[in-house]
């Protein structure tokens, strides 16, 4: 019953009507949060649907705009809207252009694009929206049910446990990502190193700033993210010559037929369950959801050969899993303050700028913000259903914008955003430096996403490490003596060893290449 009361609080926050001063009309009562969520979803989809702009780049581009909103609830609700919009935009490009926005929509390209080629793009988009909406509804309830007890657990944690938890979170993120484990760990370390730049919290001494005043507050999160994800991505895209496989078949009807729906019900249910449970994992579990769902559907199908040739189950299942996982991956962030992936790390950055440190205390200190955000997830999913299906013609037209015009627009837009965060032209220059840095990392075979995780968690990790060691008077054994922290570290160690074993590594690679 608690859960219902909490969700009630959330929805009343979202539906809250405030008088807004409109020029020329005067004060008009408007449900501001709903409007922000709507704008977020719309703009998120608008940018996310551009080929070559994945959810991470979309969110980094729009992040500075949310900083301008005065109230944290509104900003986070809008950000959540942007997130879902970007996710859905990624699926749309996967189906229509065969370009997955990010790892989680790779699977959608297999059957989704095939369906589009057969003139059934509308049905693929429709079932993906319906499946996502259903998965979103279930995941919202899962979050609401799990948040309170998990937060209770987190409140038992001391500095040693927290440190161990963050170590485990980072290791999970590495193990569940693709590419070399050693290189991903190195990237986390580089992120940690970047986070130490600035004034030391305990002694007030400047670290690694070269006596350069703008650095004494540390590297700005938005600057780092925009450089490494936004602009470096542009540089990378400039190198591949345009070869866009936009479907020129008609989109066809959007609403799936009764037969399509019948075929999709079970995959949607299974995908939702798989995605929701994998998404809760402290590492980047959400990535595995769509892969697992696709493999499962293919295994239990009567005729597995249909997969890869436009089977609707191959879209319905993974898309539901994708959305369920995207949503439940908020759980580690909201309850423990640990971002499981780069997108959630962006959320942490946004929350911190609004003056909210993610973690168990958010729920007790700002209950309306916490539950409002959870309620906004459901609203966001509903918005997507309302926005996307009628506007599909617009998205298709956006897909045809050539990259040679898209990237100058992206740059202008992002630069204004970055400049407006601190009204500082120097930030634009720093972003350029990080763009070159991120571009070199990509060229050297590093995946930059783990770096952002390390950067976001760095300060918190150092703080907890130092506190734990002050309490234990410099005894490192404290991390192994406390049962919770010892368990967490042991899990992390086992995961890391497993990932480095050749046989496991091989099957891990297979999971991601299939």
């Amino acid at each position: 019953m608690d859960m219902l009361a909490n969700l009630g609080l959330g929805f009343s926050t979202i539906l809250n009507i405030v008088p807004v001063e409109l020029p020329g009309i005067g004060a008009v009562p408007l449900p501001m949060n709903i409007i922000l969520c709507f704008i977020g979803c719309l703009v998120g989809t608008l940018i996310g649907v551009l080929p070559g702009v994945g959810p991470i780049a979309t969110i980094t581009m729009l992040l500075p705009i949310t900083f301008q909103l005065g109230n944290p609830t509104g900003a986070l609700v809008m950000l959540a809207g942007i997130y879902y919009g970007a996710q859905y935009g990624g699926s749309t490009t996967a189906i229509l252009v065969n370009i997955p926005g990010e790892a989680t929509s790779v699977v959608t390209t297999l059957d989704g694009h095939e369906m589009a080629k057969q003139g059934r793009a509308g049905v693929a988009l429709g079932i993906s929206a319906i499946g996502s909406f259903f998965a979103g509804c279930v995941a919202t309830v899962v979050i609401a049910a799990l948040a309170a007890p998990l937060t209770g657990v987190a409140l038992l944690f001391g500095p040693a446990e927290y440190f161990a938890l963050m170590v485990m979170g980072l290791i999970f993120a590495v193990v569940l990502a693709r590419g070399s484990v050693a290189k991903a760990v190195t990237m986390i370390l580089v992120g940690l190193l970047l986070s130490t730049i600035g004034t030391d919290l305990e002694t007030g001494q400047e670290r690694l700033t070269f006596g350069f005043a703008p650095l004494s507050d540390g590297v700005d999160f938005a600057v780092l993210a925009m450089g490494v994800f936004g602009f470096a991505e542009v540089l990378r895209n400039l190198e591949v010559s345009e070869n866009r496989d936009v479907v020129n078949k008609p989109i066809g009807r959007l609403l799936p037929s009764l037969d399509d729906l019948k075929a999709s019900v079970a995959p949607v249910l299974r995908g939702t369950a798989l995605g929701a449970s994998l998404g809760i994992l402290p590492g980047n579990g959400a990535v595995l959801g769509p892969f697992a769902s696709y493999t499962l559907e293919k295994k239990i199908a009567k005729d597995p050969r249909r997969f890869g040739r436009g089977a609707i189950e191959g879209v319905a299942g993974p898309e539901s899993a994708n959305n369920a996982g995207a949503q439940t991956s908020f759980i580690p962030l909201l309850t423990l303050g640990i971002p499981p992936n780069a997108v959630m790390a962006l959320m942490v950055g946004a929350m911190t700028i609004q003056g909210i440190i993610p973690g168990p205390q958010v729920m007790t200190r700002n209950p309306d913000l916490f539950w409002g955000m959870i309620a906004s997830m459901w609203i966001g999913n509903l918005m997507l259903l309302i926005i996307n299906l009628p506007l599909i013609g617009l998205w298709v037209r956006l897909l045809k914008v050539p990259y040679r015009l898209m990237f100058p627009a992206i740059l202008v837009f992002s630069c204004i955003g970055i400049y407006s965060v601190n009204n500082s032209p120097a930030d634009v220059v720093f972003t350029a430096v990080f763009a070159l840095f991120g571009y070199s990392l990509i060229k050297l075979g590093f995946e930059p996403a783990p770096m952002l995780l390390g950067f976001v968690l760095g300060k918190l990790m150092e703080e907890n490490l130092r506190r734990a060691l002050i309490i234990s008077r410099g005894d490192m054994v404290t991390f192994l003596e406390k049962p919770i922290s010892a368990t967490l570290l042991a899990i992390a160690a086992v995961m890391l060893c497993l990932a480095l074993l050749p046989s496991v590594r091989k099957s891990r690679d297979e999971v991601f290449t299939e």
Partner: protein
């Protein structure tokens, strides 16, 4: 990639990319260690500001050595100069600018137009390089596309131009300048189309950011005459 195997005496480089990655990280760790050399370490029980950064650098160096070893022991991706040419070029311009700035300072010039001389030198050299590349874009487009310079140099150039003009002249100039300079980064760009597009996108941004979102951002500044 282009150079899978490089003979180096008796030892063979088998994964040049990992080797370069490892060496770059070693350089990064060494640079950070130099920058942090004045930070006291403290003890484990009461850590000083230097303890955690040094520990991280140590770990980075460890993994970097692993990558270097990996580059010799295992077959991997090779490297191509075009992948790094832009970063090397920008770093070289930086070094030239630092030297020029230092000698201008020695000559008694502490500031030029309100900026430190090294910053002015950097922008001047960068501008020259961009002009030269723009000429190459017309004369030898295939060479430029293959050099790996085109994308990064023009995009970063556009960003620099934006940073220099946004506060001094305003968005009216900064926006189109960024769009046009960075537009040169793609070989598919058409000049006329880009010019129209640059003006249009700036107009949209001014309406949206300045008037709809009310960001405090100068649109047009002519000193003593107008401040929008």
């Amino acid at each position: 990639m282009k150079t899978p195997k490089v003979e180096m005496g008796a030892i063979r480089v088998r994964g040049a990319q990992n080797l370069v990655a490892g060496l770059s990280l070693l350089g990064l760790a060494a640079f950070a260690a130099w920058a942090a050399s004045d930070l006291p370490l403290g003890r484990l029980g009461s850590m000083g500001p230097g303890m955690v950064p040094y520990a991280i650098m140590g770990l980075i160096a460890l993994f970097a050595l692993g990558l270097v070893a990996n580059g010799f022991l295992k077959d991997g991706e090779g490297v191509a100069l075009a992948d790094y040419s832009a970063v090397i070029l920008v770093a070289a311009i930086g070094v030239v600018a630092l030297v020029a700035g230092a000698s201008l300072k020695a000559a008694g010039i502490a500031q030029l137009w309100g900026y430190p001389p090294s910053v002015v030198a950097f922008c001047a050299v960068y501008l020259l390089v961009m002009v030269w590349l723009a000429i190459q874009a017309v004369r030898r487009p295939t060479w430029l596309d293959r050099s790996g310079l085109r994308g990064p140099i023009f995009v970063v150039g556009g960003l620099l131009a934006f940073a220099l003009t946004v506060r001094t002249v305003g968005l009216v100039l900064a926006g189109p300048l960024l769009a046009v300079i960075s537009g040169a980064a793609s070989s598919e760009t058409r000049l006329k189309e880009l010019l129209i597009f640059a003006v249009a996108i700036t107009a949209v941004c001014i309406v949206m950011f300045k008037y709809a979102l009310k960001l405090p951002m100068p649109v047009l500044i002519i000193p003593g005459v107008i401040y929008l």
